[in-house]
């Protein structure tokens, strides 16, 4: 559990002069569930996009299992799966078709992709709706398809950018259990969420970002200890005391 699997080194990114990520460094250990928290606009998604090889950083680098996203993006892509914050699906096609296609793009053969699609639909509880067009799904079901797609290649490192936004407690719980099961199978997970109790329950370690900077890193207990007795304070209180109460964006 102490082997470093991902290392972000002094990542920087600005959009038209507006700094979105401001010299951010952290590590994620193998088989860890690592939470990335922060108010809206803190730079979480931008950080993930750089780690996922789709957004070139202005400065710094990310090493995934020893491969640089700058120099060996191809190697990094073999290791990662991304569940983006915004749904990324083909709505007119069925859940199964979406999964099989992305499976093929991730390097699976036709038969393998179909098998994996079946397993992942089962995992997210959509096996009965496999042949329905995604456009007809509820918001929560689409979220689960979005998650299932990112699991198609059984990645060693999974980026989950707010996977539980806008879904009911049952679905959220289902996703929770899924993430824990995957970690049990050896997957390393980076998880962002605005639900503090969710992060508290799920994550081994957390990083809190604000204004593009990393302002705290540690286990939930360590972070709580910064402002009081860990048993008595909530993660939400830690978050608010670190990031302030002013509205963002």
């Amino acid at each position: 559990m102490n082997e470093e699997f991902l290392a972000a080194k002094e990542l920087r990114k600005a959009f038209n002069g507006n700094v979105a990520v401001d010299v951010v460094s952290f590590s994620i250990m193998r088989k860890e569930i690592f939470g990335l928290l922060g108010p809206n606009g803190a730079g979480k998604t931008t950080t993930i996009r750089m780690m996922a090889t789709v957004l070139p950083p202005d400065g710094g680098d990310v090493m995934v299992d020893g491969h640089s996203v700058l120099r060996h993006a191809g190697e990094v892509r073999k290791l990662i799966g991304v569940c983006p914050q915004e749904l990324a699906l083909y709505p007119e096609l069925t859940a199964l078709e979406n999964l099989v296609f992305f499976g093929q793009m991730a390097g699976l053969g036709g038969k393998q992709a179909k098998e994996a699609a079946g397993e992942n639909l089962l995992l997210v509880g959509l096996q009965d709706r496999a042949k329905d067009a995604v456009a007809k799904f509820s918001g929560g079901m689409k979220r689960r398809v979005n998650l299932a797609i990112s699991l198609m290649s059984r990645p060693a490192l999974l980026f989950l950018d707010e996977p539980t936004v806008g879904i009911d407690p049952q679905s959220r719980n289902h996703i929770f259990e899924t993430v824990q099961r995957l970690r049990g199978e050896g997957m390393t997970v980076l998880y962002t969420t605005h639900y503090m109790e969710e992060a508290d329950r799920l994550c081994d370690r957390l990083a809190i970002m604000d204004h593009g900077q990393l302002i705290a890193v540690g286990t939930p207990r360590e972070l709580k200890a910064q402002i009081g007795q860990p048993e008595k304070v909530t993660l939400e209180e830690v978050f608010l005391s670190l990031t302030g109460r002013r509205l963002r964006d």
Binding site: L89, P91, A133
Partner: protein
Amino acid sequence: MLRPVHIALFEVRRYIVDRGDLAFSLALPMALFALMYGVFGGDETFNGTANVVDLDGGPAAQEFVSRLESVDGLQVRLRSLDEADRALARTSILTAIVIPPGFSDALAAGEPVKLTVKQRGTGGDEGQIVSSIALSVAQRIAAEVQARRWARTTMEGSAIPQPEIDQAAQAAVTQADADPAVDVAVVVEGESGRADGGQFVDRLLPGILVMFLMFAVTLSSQVIVDERRLGTLERLLTTRLTLNQLFAGKFLAGVARAMLQAVVLLALAYAVLRVGGPSSFFQALAFALLVAAAVGAIGLVIGAAARTREQATWAAVFFTMFMTIFGGTFFDPSETKALDVLSHVTLNRYAIDALEGITSGGKSFADYGVQAGIMAGVAVAALTVARWAFRRTVK
């Protein structure tokens, strides 16, 4: 690597799964073709105009004109030689029948006569029908003049009563009709050049086919902005898919979608209109494939340059309209020099010329090496530019 093929198949699947889109894209070319065929080509009865230049002015010439006028469905328009020449040059008419000076006298003297048919190219279907009507009318007049002359010379002054002379003359006409003693020759004075005004349908089919292939520009131009909007582009870029594979997949998808329409339209034309045999069908399809490749590649150039869906759509629509209009889909671009030159900067001109020859001109793919080379060249050049611009758009 099969990934580009997977992308192409997947995209075709997305296209097909939207039944509305599909029905629209296939029904539209059929409906348009049926409509135009009905308007321009579907006449069962013949209707035409004979442009006649009477340089003779004698009684036989007048008889000739009035008999032409009495033919069902045929109007006669008398023109001066100058007028006819100018109309021919403009291709506003494709044939003119010229009655030479001395026509009546020669006929009366029992000498062979000539009618001159001036025409552009083959003169078109209408021109050919009019010429053959003119020939038979002239032959009949010649036969009658001949028979009357014979009856007059042999029976005049004899005691045979007039009605019997008439009867014999009539018999002689019938006889002469079957075996004319006087030759009426039609001399064709043609101008080389494209003669398609009269064969509207022959050119219409390739025109519409190419126009629909052109629509692939619009579809291809949107694939990248479309995937960006869905968020799937970024998702694809986190997989093992390389930019080259993505690019190849999008190109293949565009070609496949365009060919879907081409196959339907051509199959319909060959089945219903009996345009030609299977060999001609497959050659036309092969040429259509080249056109689809050129057009799909151009679509990707526009797609790679456009930042928004609107930009892509407008650029593609403008391109398509220009190519379709000035390429000669709906009129003959060889009518004026300027149009002729302009049409040669469009892909459509070359594509329509070749497809017309293959579908209805009795020619083969091999006769259109230049046109095929132009399609392939444009495809390669556009693919190179698009691939170069692609990285910038996708990132």
